[in-house]
């Protein structure tokens, strides 16, 4: 009897674990039974089996949340006749995920992957075997850009970029700029500013946004760039000084905050979030997916999501995104050349 109890307990533990496993992508409710009103408009290729959507980052991150939102919208409005299943493959700043994608043969039609800055930076810094262009990928659609803000610790009275530049010129090497990663968008912003204004602000890489925020709040770091979502509370409460927005237009929630470009500094580098596939995918397939994500981008749900997460809508179809990616790649190559090697 006792043994039975013990085994029962063990069994409960097994169930608990499998329940945990249930959190993983496979648990997408089947919406495939529904008819396909949306897809019927397109004449060409239509998917006939489930689509894998590779997220090259961990669960809960910005990339993950975005992809899962898209999948949710696709299901809600039955935009696609088959299931789209998100799969997290994190590691190596995205490289593990792209490796997983590339394990399918070229031209494979049922695997998508999302991109972030590291899609471009890792290959350029020599830490990824894949080049971010048509040689290794097909470009499906571009969804959003991530505006960011330049913030300063309260121990300074900086109000504008000019203030910072003035101080940095008078006191070379004293100001520290914190960012996440060593060859990241944050680093690019600083090195561009250093070059544009001919100053010497030191870059301090962090591996964690939380630690960086704490360091800026405590005045250990003087300046930082961070995404709007991460700094919005501190902007509203005045626990950090906000210097400039890095965006194409002023941020809707902070209409009084001028962009860096308005302040006379050509700092507009933003993270691009798009979707890629294996190379050699036929144009009609790309057109189908491109159309699918355009429909996603046009929903109110998506627009609300973009606004809530302080991103900027920037939809591009596959042709535009292919051309634009080439531009982005060149931008990164130029910018990253400014990052000191050792």
């Amino acid at each position: 009897m006792k043994k039975l109890m013990a085994l029962l307990l063990a069994a409960i533990m097994v169930f608990a674990l499998t329940a945990c496993g249930g959190d993983t992508p496979a648990s997408t409710p089947a919406a495939s039974g529904a008819s396909t009103p949306a897809a019927s408009e397109s004449t060409g290729w239509v998917p006939t089996k489930d689509i894998e959507f590779v997220i090259p980052f961990g669960a809960g991150g910005g990339n993950d949340i975005m992809v899962r939102k898209m999948v949710e919208i696709i299901e809600k409005y039955k935009l696609c006749p088959v299931n789209v299943v998100p799969v997290n493959k994190k590691g190596g700043s995205g490289v593990v995920g792209y490796t997983y994608l590339k394990d399918y043969k070229a031209g494979y039609e049922y695997a998508l992957a999302s991109t972030s800055a590291s899609f471009f930076t890792q290959p350029i810094t020599g830490n990824s075997p894949f080049s971010p262009d048509t040689k290794d990928f097909s470009f499906v659609a571009h969804l959003v850009k991530d505006p960011s803000v330049i913030c300063a610790s309260k121990k300074w009275d900086f109000k504008t970029i000019d203030d910072i530049v003035k101080y940095a010129k008078e006191n070379p090497g004293t100001l520290k700029w914190g960012g996440v990663g060593n060859a990241s968008d944050d680093a690019i912003l600083l090195y561009t500013l250093n070059t544009l204004a001919d100053v010497q602000i030191t870059y301090v890489p962090y591996d964690d946004q939380g630690m960086l925020t704490a360091a800026v709040l405590g005045g250990h770091i003087d300046l930082c760039s961070s995404s709007l979502a991460e700094s919005v509370e501190h902007m509203k409460n005045g626990t950090m000084n906000t210097i400039a927005a890095i965006a194409d237009n002023r941020l809707p929630d902070f209409p009084d905050l001028p962009t860096a470009v308005e302040q006379g500094y050509q700092l507009d580098h933003q993270q691009n979030r798009g979707i890629v596939m294996n190379p050699g995918v036929k144009d009609e397939v790309l057109a189908y997916y491109s159309g699918l994500f355009q429909k996603v981008a046009e929903t109110e749900d998506w627009k609300t999501f973009v606004k809530e997460n302080a991103m900027a809508d920037a939809f591009m179809g596959y042709k535009e995104w292919t051309a634009y990616a080439e531009e982005v790649k060149e931008d990164y190559t130029t910018y990253l050349a400014m990052v000191p090697k050792d």
Binding site: V14, C20, K89, G91, G181, A214, L217, G218
Partner: protein
């Protein structure tokens, strides 16, 4: 008075039976998830997050916190019973908990772990309640140079767990430091020891390493020698509760562990694991029965367990008051809060008084629930030991591998776990302690990162890094801990010589 009013507001929220129910669900799930090897509080919170949709913020927050401290205690169950820490904060609990279990006192060890957790948890709720709005700036007073000093202090605690042979302990520590070095360099982006394997780019996480070194190695050894016996009457409530003598021995350690844990927990990035390491070390150093540590003493269970629960409470301070999550679990919790439309940050206590004080009240409630579950269900937990060893080992093995896969959804972590399982087996055979290796792995990476950031900030002036006021104080303490005993011994010898002469 204001405080009492606020607390009253908090408890009035608890009058809602749904809040109590969700708190209960949270604690129960937390204990179970915490007990499963590899699944820690962050996984638990992530898994139950979908349940929060549509709940009132108070319910959701109470449930999530319940998981958090439930898991902190749950981790000790498997640590004590099968020498496999359920999560990283329970590693230190194995050192004395498992020997206790082998002595037939599994019930007592579990009872102690539960009570220490609850006492640590309750005292820190009081600390949290009275201090959170005031001391939120404490977390930000630590910059890279201060963290570096704290990590050095942590590394000195390795000396406390080397066992009989210090050389072997340090060997293990160096192995750990080496593993910590693997990955892409943060500052220059240079790959270190990755041999072109993209899976190694982000370094080796210590959770699979700990599961291998402790869990799998233990299973392999279990094939060779057996088995813990539980005496039936050791499970009576009276036997679970520590007797007067034991209270006397453990209470000071619990008190110190709680305060230390709360402080370390408040520092983003340090967290419960490091708190439990430091607390064990402190208990050992301040104990009158130093030499008995590691052979199964209740203090060795009480100290780390009180510290890790206190740390989980401490970690809530910067998360709620600064919007800076200090650990994986609080990061996910913060995501959950934002999902519910509450942004943690400097104005959290003012803008969301009801939620904030409801949370405080629920923490008291949660600790009561934890005691009831912990002591009430102990008999059930201990039944695990009645399962035939062969069956049990197979089950644990499966759990560990599933847990390893669940960490990153990848077979690579499973491989890492198995690899370190084999290493752990040989370490065991060579009587090299595994705990210093894990500690060095946890601290090594943090030490390196913070030292290098500090050097950049201080323009590569090493002296300046060491002489920031807070870092200097911590480093002096570390120096004292590292060299205090040999110096004292040398003096004692001198004095003895003088007397003789």
């Amino acid at each position: 008075m204001n405080l009492l009013q606020n607390l009253g507001l908090g408890f009035s929220i608890l009058a809602d039976p749904m809040v109590i129910l969700y708190s209960l669900i949270g604690v129960v799930c937390g204990v179970i998830i915490g007990a499963l090897p590899g699944l820690g509080p962050s996984v638990g919170i992530a898994v139950l997050l979908p349940l929060c949709y549509g709940l009132s913020p108070a319910c959701a927050l109470c449930m999530l916190c319940g998981i958090y401290y439930g898991a902190m205690y749950g981790g000790s169950i498997t640590a004590i019973l099968i020498n496999t820490p359920g999560d990283s904060a329970a590693i230190m609990t194995t050192l004395d908990g498992y020997p206790l279990a082998r002595k037939g006192q599994a019930g007592k060890a579990l009872g102690m772990a539960c009570l220490a957790s609850v006492i640590g948890g309750t005292i820190s709720v009081v600390l949290f309640m009275t201090l959170a709005p005031i001391i939120s700036n404490f977390a930000t007073s630590f910059g890279p140079s201060e963290y570096f000093a704290l990590m050095v202090l942590g590394l000195t605690s390795i000396a406390g767990m080397t066992g009989k042979s210090p050389a072997k302990g340090f060997l293990a520590a160096f192995l750990g430091l080496f593993v910590a070095g693997i990955g892409i360099d943060l500052v220059f982006g240079t790959p270190k020891f990755v041999f072109g394997n993209v899976n190694l780019y982000s370094g080796i996480d210590f959770v699979p390493v700990a599961m291998g070194l402790f869990g799998i190695a233990e299973i392999i050894c279990n094939f060779e020698n057996n088995n813990i016996k539980v005496e039936k009457d050791s499970l009576k409530l009276k036997k679970l509760l520590p007797n007067k003598e034991e209270w006397k021995r453990t209470l000071p350690h619990i008190g110190r562990g709680t305060i230390l844990g709360f402080i370390v927990g408040m520092l983003p990035g340090a967290g419960a694991t490091i708190a439990s390491f430091l607390s064990y070390d402190m208990a050992k150093r301040t104990s009158k029965h130093k030499e008995e540590f590691g052979t199964g003493v209740v203090e060795g269970v009480a100290a780390p367990e009180s510290a890790n629960n206190a740390a989980s409470m401490g970690a809530m301070v910067p998360m709620l008051t600064l919007g800076v999550p200090g650990s994986g679990a609080t990061a996910i919790m913060m995501g959950a809060l934002m999902m519910l439309g509450i942004s943690p940050g400097p104005s959290f206590f003012l803008k969301n008084a009801e939620v904030a004080w409801g949370l405080v009240a629920s923490m008291y409630l949660g600790n009561v629930i934890l005691v009831l579950i912990g002591l009430g269900a102990l008999g059930l937990f201990v039944k695990i030991l009645n399962v035939k060893t062969t069956t049990m080992n197979a089950l644990i093995f499966a759990f560990i591998l599933m847990g390893a896969f669940a960490l990153e959804n990848s077979m690579f972590t499973v491989g890492v776990t198995l690899f370190f399982g084999i290493i752990g087996y040989f370490l065991k055979k060579l009587k090299v302690p595994a705990a210093p290796m894990v500690l060095a792995l946890v601290l090594g990476a943090l030490t390196e990162t913070n030292l290098r950031q500090a050097l950049i900030i201080d323009n590569n002036n090493f002296f300046k890094v060491l002489t920031h006021p807070i870092s200097a104080v911590i480093l002096v303490i570390a120096l004292f801990l590292a060299f205090g005993t040999p110096i004292k011994n040398a003096f004692a010898k001198l004095r003895a010589k003088k007397k003789a002469a």
